[in-house]
């Protein structure tokens, strides 16, 4: 491939990616006729519905990350330490959410955990929130597990554990004061991707009828002219911030670790 062709391909590609973003931002600024203004953003930010759904999604994202990591870090640690033969199986399990469409899984939730089932999670608000959080953990599992597992592989888990045990540390102390600090960068990078996923998620929240940011976006899109584009711009900024932060952390960790 000649250099000119390479430039041409890259520039054409860049145009395809930049135009929609320009269109989105331009639309979000053109609420006032004939001039650019931030009116759409002002209206959106003042909308109590926006604050409620945005706040709800932020809370759900934080809960998802905390509970998800409580599940993932000990499991990945334990598999590395005691059950290395199990790793391919666990890895396969964590990749399944990429295989099975989310709409199918949430359909299963509705059938399995409805009010007349053995575990009527959808019967109460708290129950539905927990169910949605578990769904989000499931969606974030491939990213969280992969990040933590990669982080753990760079650490000599067995030696660290033995050293801690010989000093009298229990499992809780080992996980909290030894393993977690060592994989903190990996945990954070997994957390940022999960945050971005939860903030934009639509299908699960809509089908479980929870007031999350995704369904609110869709509702605004169906009913308003300019505000949806302001919201989309905000959503893009969030995605950008999360992924950017994640890559920054990953790069930082690679440089910080002697190889």
């Amino acid at each position: 491939m000649t250099r000119a062709a390479a430039w041409a391909i890259l520039i054409l590609g860049a145009i395809y990616f930049i135009l929609p973003l320009m269109g989105m931002i331009e639309f979000s600024l053109s609420m006032r006729r004939g001039e650019y203004s931030l009116d759409a953003y002002r209206i959106v930010l003042a909308d109590p519905q926006f604050r409620r759904t945005f706040g709800y999604s932020v809370m759900m994202a934080i809960a998802t990350i905390v509970v998800g990591m409580l599940l993932v870090v000990p499991t990945a640690y334990w598999v590395q330490l005691k059950l290395p033969r199990l790793r391919p199986l666990i890895e396969f399990m964590t990749l399944l959410p990429l295989v099975i469409p989310a709409i199918v899984v949430v359909f299963g939730y509705i059938r399995l955990y409805n009010t007349s089932s053995w575990l009527p999670l959808t019967g109460s608000l708290t129950g539905t929130n927990i169910l949605l959080m578990c769904g989000y953990i499931m969606l974030g599992l491939p990213y969280m597990y992969r990040a933590v597992d990669t982080g753990l592989r760079a650490v000599d888990v067995a030696t660290l554990t033995e050293a801690a045990q010989s000093l009298g540390a229990g499992w809780g102390t080992i996980l909290w004061r030894l393993i977690l600090p060592n994989v903190l960068v990996a945990v954070l990078s997994g957390a940022f991707v999960t945050f971005a996923i939860v903030m934009g998620e639509f299908t699960m929240a809509a089908l479980l009828n929870r007031p999350a940011f995704g369904p609110y976006l869709q509702l605004m899109g169906a009913n308003r002219a300019y505000e949806p584009f302001a919201l989309a711009t905000i959503a893009f900024a969030i995605t950008w911030a999360c992924i950017g932060a994640m890559q920054l952390f990953t790069r930082f960790s690679r440089q910080g670790r002697p190889t």
Partner: protein, 292 residues
Amino acid sequence: MTDQTPHSRPPRRFNPAWLGVLPFALFVSMFLIAPTLNIVIGAFQTPDGSFTLANIQGLFTRSIMSSYWISIKISVASAAIGSLVGFLMATAVVLGGLPRGLRAPLMTFSGVASNFAGVPLAFAFLATLGPLGLVTGVLRTEFGINLRAYGFNILSFWGLTITYLFFQIPLMILIITPALDGLKREWREAASCLGATGAQYWRMVALPILFPTIIGTFALLFANAFGAVATAIALTGSSLNIAPIMLFAQIRGDVLGDPQLGYAMAFGMIVITAVANVTYIVLRIRSERWLK
């Protein structure tokens, strides 16, 4: 050889270390395996719980088949174009002699764009190629081209395909770039020592090595597009009957008039994405033979 005396092997005893993965196993069974199995079983059951194939047969009606068919077409088109364009862009940056500084921004942007799906993505394309969009407007006022008159509509097969490319191309770039890095310089030098032209090197050395990765990623992109619900719903409402939209409407309000048929539809989606993903995994394992 350790197993010369098979009877000396201790009997399999319960290993207490297994208890450590119990929470994880419980979570995955409850919130991933059981719900999926439940749908699969439901697809083969009558409302009172006995076995039947009638639901699967029910899928072969004109409206459901056409919804699967248009879904498959959009997924194939966006996966094929996405693989091709992603491959070209990655090749341009990795092997095209462009400044090395371009690479990190491209990878970062790909990470962002492959995660920027769903409702906001649909809005971005509405604002660009919709009836009042940026590109539509510029083409009409500056160039006198009316996209509508050419039969283009964002709420159509091509509209959806172009939109899906926004997350398909970056995903291809993210996966293919490491594979391109794995092409050894020596292979190229060996080929040119033997008198091969650049085209011959690509046709006879590089592409055969990359082929499993490319086809495997194509399968992954296919599954990715096939399961995309939010983008499609936000873009088209319910004007385009693709399989995930139909399933969404069915879960919300039983538009098919038969709950069992909904399970069969979901089952059909699992089968299609599973085939695509198994293809991906098999080819991925094959490609790792050369690209270490």
